[in-house]
């Protein structure tokens, strides 16, 4: 399955120089990787299964946010046959949280309970998926924030660097 990416360019999030490579303006084509990275795939389109699903998602500072538990696609109906020549689907969001359970055991999670990271926040795709924003600004990290605020942050020393 090849996915092409909807580039909703949001250059406010681009702070690192090398990320300039990531945004091609030729529509339809996939993301190109920073040229100097020898581990980057050479192709111009990404295989969602091989290169996105179950990858680690990092925020702007490199803090792990979640794993790509599932993807939200626009332009195809689940179960429907894809006619040859129909326009390729576009990736709209990374899904996480309850989405892992549906991938493990099948079924559908109700749309209201989905935790989505909009694809437009993604700044780079390599062996990890990098976001252009801080983890704390995302719905996807509410559990981490809750545990931090109500449990770990309340234990003495929890907010200090290790000595």
């Amino acid at each position: 399955m090849n996915d092409e990416h909807d580039h909703d360019h949001d250059h406010d999030h681009e702070h690192e120089h090398e990320h300039d490579h990531d945004h091609d303006h030729d529509g339809g084509a996939g993301r190109r990787m920073p040229r100097r990275d020898p581990r980057a795939p050479r192709g111009r389109v990404l295989d969602a299964h091989l290169h996105l699903l179950d990858r680690q998602v990092l925020d702007r500072e490199g803090v792990p946010v979640t794993t790509v538990d599932d993807l939200e696609l626009d332009g195809i109906e689940p179960g429907a046959r894809i006619e040859p020549g129909s326009p390729p689907p576009t990736l709209t969001a990374i899904l996480t949280g309850p989405q892992l359970l549906t991938r493990l055991f099948g079924g559908h999670a109700p749309a209201a309970r989905r935790i989505a990271i909009p694809w437009k926040l993604v700044s780079a795709v390599g062996t990890t998926v990098r976001l252009g924003v801080d983890a704390d600004s995302l719905d996807a990290s509410w559990v981490e924030r809750w545990v931090s605020r109500h449990l770990i942050g309340r234990i003495p020393g929890g907010r200090h660097d290790p000595e």
Binding site: R55, R103, E144
Partner: protein
Amino acid sequence: MKNLFAVALGVLTAIGGFVDIGDLVTNAVVGSRFGLGLAWVVLVGVVGICIYAQMSGRVAAVSGRATFEIIRERLGPRAGLANLAASFLINLLTVTAEVGGVALALQLATSVDPGWWIPVAAFGVWIVIWRARFELLENVTGLLGLTLIVFAVALFMLSPDWGELAGQALQPGPPADEPVATYWFYAVALFGAAMTPYEVFFFSSGAIEEKWTEKDLAKSRLNVLVGFPLGGLLSIAIAGCAAVVLLPAAIDVTSLSQVVLPVAEAGGKIALSFVIVGILAATFGAALETTLSSGYTLAQYFGWSWGKFRKPAKAARFHLSMIVCLLIAVAILATGVDPILVTEYSVVFSAVALPLTYLPILIIANDREYMGDRVNGRGMNFVGQVYLVIILAAALAAIPLLIITGAGA
């Protein structure tokens, strides 16, 4: 000079860090029943852990990715979760054994019932994980664990019949009075004790904690290739002491107090104090490593923020899961189960779980997407595959042998 010091420190830490409650107990049990007849297994295990640690350290340093992130990416969520569940549960068993080991070592020093020491030990482990820096905890426990060298000194002081010991070591095979299955059961247990999977979770996650680059690999290779074999020699010395003092007296080791008997016999109170400090440091260090490993595996599978280099509040679920693991370990020990028994089961199940993490590491070490041109060479792959066969054989034989022999009784 500074470099030499760093190298020496790394090697010494690897020696002290190699031995944990599983090695202490299993080697003493085996020594008291088979003499040095299973010393060859320690050698096989040491070479295996060197290969395994070296590969996972290289994968971590080159790709910057930890073991369980990669396992999930490569195996997918389902097989990855099954792998996580098995590895995590066995690691939890090892946490329990190590915390129990700390309590037993404290009992040797104080004769206070281990039931009182268990919560103290678990709290100590937690507070160090909560507050101390990674390098600090690794170096302090590793260096104090080095006092276990007293086992080797004790072996010389006992002035054993070296010819007889060599004869036991060079003529492997079950003795006449022990069933063949029991011999192989202990071979698997000893292999599991030398190649515990947590050492690798810890090693590869530690490489990321300490922000290793490819340059640090040479240093790590030296630490592993020198430190682990010396740790293996220490293991054989533990078995040797038991073979000299306990085997002739028909004492099958069932408790930690018997493990230290030969040392006191050889070196009196001074040697005994060294060995108690060493056991305390080795089990405490391993308790830290296994507890961290349980946090690492969970956080890496689910993509949580992890690492000791962060403030606990910045890796909240990672720290919460470690607290929960320690509480579970205390709860298991509070039932009054013998920590030595937990240890014996943990090493056997470690052997069972080993292929689950070994195979993905072997595959990734050959994956150019992660490794670029630092993939395994032909020689490394050959040895890696030979060990894959050994590891699979041990894993498949472990549970049938456990049942046939009634856990080695």
